[in-house]
């Protein structure tokens, strides 16, 4: 599975747009890019997934360039409740039963 690299932490203020970039240079042709959000003492929550170009849902947007070696999670107009750890995952190990590999994630802190 491709290794991912993302910033350890980011700070933002309420109302701002936040962009978190993840590098995955060794992404395989069949790999999708998935982002999870985790609040303290809760399980991770799937927020968005994409393969190429741009995907948007009610929570976030995901931008993936043509070479797919990176991706950017965009959170529009963040609020205090968006304070969480955001994980970028690439692919899933089907030969290990669907193992997800989580890195350290990006700890986003939104301030008033």
């Amino acid at each position: 599975l491709a290794k991912t690299t993302q910033p350890i932490s980011m700070d933002s203020y309420e109302g701002q747009e936040v962009n978190i970039t993840c590098s995955h240079n060794n992404i395989a042709t069949n790999d999708y890019i998935t982002w999870y959000q985790q609040f303290p003492s809760q399980g991770p929550r799937f927020i968005i997934q994409g393969y190429k170009t741009k995907v948007t849902n009610e929570v976030a947007s995901l931008f993936i360039p043509a070479d797919r070696k990176s991706s950017t999670l965009s959170l529009p107009r963040v609020s205090l409740s968006d304070t969480a750890v955001y994980y970028c995952l690439v692919g899933v190990s089907y030969n290990q039963g669907g193992k997800l590999i989580f890195g350290q994630g990006t700890e986003l802190s939104v301030k008033p």
Binding site: Y32, Y94, Q96, G97, G98, G103
Partner: protein
């Protein structure tokens, strides 16, 4: 619809004891996975079960075992507890066709003293 449920919520055990954690997947999901998350790190894969068979195992010692029941619920067992087993244990369920989109429960916080 009910999400993934786990019990108990919190647990305190002593070194050397064993523990059983339980998980009920989302209705219709046949895949259940277990993850361990220590403070400050991302979740680490322990096991995955599908249709009551183990399909994946992470790099954990044999003290960790699991099983899945006919109703697709699952148990994680840990024997001979060590202080380092203190962590949040997460259960995730998923559709076999979309295993990169898994749904996590709230976790069981295990403290070993």
């Amino acid at each position: 619809d009910a999400g993934v449920t786990q019990s108990p919520t919190h647990l305190i055990k002593t070194r050397g004891q064993h523990v059983t954690l339980r998980c009920s997947p989302i209705s219709g999901h046949k895949s259940v996975s277990w993850y361990q998350q220590v403070l400050g790190q991302g979740p680490q894969f322990i096991f995955q079960y599908y249709e009551k068979e183990e399909r994946g195992r992470g790099n954990f010692p044999d003290r960790f075992s699991a099983r899945q029941f006919p109703n697709y619920s699952s148990e994680l067992n840990v024997n001979a507890l060590l202080l380092g087993d203190s962590a949040l244990y997460l259960c995730a369920s998923g559709d076999s066709g979309r295993l990169d989109e898994q749904y996590f429960g709230p976790g069981t916080r295990l403290t070993v003293t």
